[in-house]
């Protein structure tokens, strides 16, 4: 392992500044941990839906980052480099769960008649769009609905819609094709939409 350097002044340090001195400054690394742990934990929670696994992943990610610090090339910020590492750790953990690949991925709410026409539950149509303002205020309810999605769907939605990775990047993380990402993404959005509509219907938000 090449010697990690002092990286005070991050998150925008470049490779050049990382390689300036020759010893690891534990205080500097703690500063990085403090600055990034919350966001990384949040990412892991979204992907894994489980607090304990999420914490383990963040620890693993920091260990991995520490070991691989020499490979940080400064092409991105430290924050986005760590973000990628922790997403990879979380996805690896997710894939270890037996049901990750096996869970049924049927489309949740869309149904069409024999002519390919949308069969719409009139009670639901438009209510969601109208309730957007309220849903923006009631974030915890939306978060719960997202965490409640099946893991394989949630991962696609978390990476693409929440973390803002591209479809290609999401495909890389998940080890599936971009086309498969789109299928999961669509199903995840439909499932979430259905959950939110059911909550609105029940007068929850």
């Amino acid at each position: 392992m090449a010697t990690p350097k002092n990286f005070a002044g991050l998150p925008n340090a470049t490779a050049a500044s990382l390689h300036r001195s020759d010893t690891v400054d534990p205080d500097a690394f703690s500063a990085i941990v403090r600055r990034n742990a919350g966001r990384m934990l949040a990412v892991c929670r979204r992907i894994l839906g489980n607090e304990e696994d999420a914490r383990d992943c963040v620890q693993d990610a920091f260990l991995s980052a520490f070991k691989n610090l020499a490979r940080f090339e400064g092409r991105s910020t430290i924050a986005s480099w760590l973000h990628r590492i922790v997403v990879n750790v979380a996805i690896t953990r997710l894939r270890r769960r037996r049901w990750f690949r096996e869970e049924p991925l049927e489309a949740a709410s869309v149904r069409f008649d024999s002519e390919g026409c949308r069969i719409v539950d009139q009670a639901h149509s438009l209510r969601l769009a109208e309730a957007v303002f309220e849903l923006h205020q009631r974030k915890s309810i939306v978060r719960e609905a997202i965490l409640d999605l099946p893991a394989g769907l949630r991962a696609a939605l978390a990476l693409r819609d929440i973390e803002g990775y591209s479809t290609a990047e999401t495909a890389d993380f998940l080890g599936i094709t971009p086309a498969a990402v789109k299928v999961r993404l669509h199903r995840a959005r439909l499932a979430l939409k259905q959950k939110l509509e059911a909550m609105i219907e029940a007068g929850q938000p």
């Binding site: 742990a37 949040a42 929440i162 789109k182």
Partner: protein, 99 residues
């Protein structure tokens, strides 16, 4: 659902499947991800727009679908730094490291 509504839907479905420029709702649905990713060809995009202009159900579906994305994006806005520091204490004593 009323029977006149069902008849109208049937009629619309019949037209959508037979007229060359029209999409069925199922086809619209199948291309909604590509539409939002900006990956439809200009021609496919025109058909998509035409369908949503003609079909109330798909128009409201698209609105709710977009709302779902926007809402999930904003749901985690303020949760990022709430637990900063929580891990710095644990970091010095990792519990386990797989493999």
């Amino acid at each position: 659902m009323s029977s006149s509504r069902r008849v109208l839907r049937k009629l619309r479905g019949w037209m959508n499947r037979r007229l060359p420029l029209l999409l069925t709702c199922a086809e619209m649905d199948a291309s909604v991800v590509d539409y939002l990713e900006g990956e439809l060809s200009p021609d496919q995009r025109r058909r998509f727009h035409l369908h949503t202009r003609l079909c109330d159900d798909c128009r409201s579906f698209l609105e709710s679908y977009r709302a779902t994305i926007a809402v999930s994006r904003s749901a985690f806005d303020h949760s990022t730094n709430e637990l900063t520091g929580l891990l710095s204490a644990e970091h010095s004593q990792p519990r386990r490291h797989p493999n």
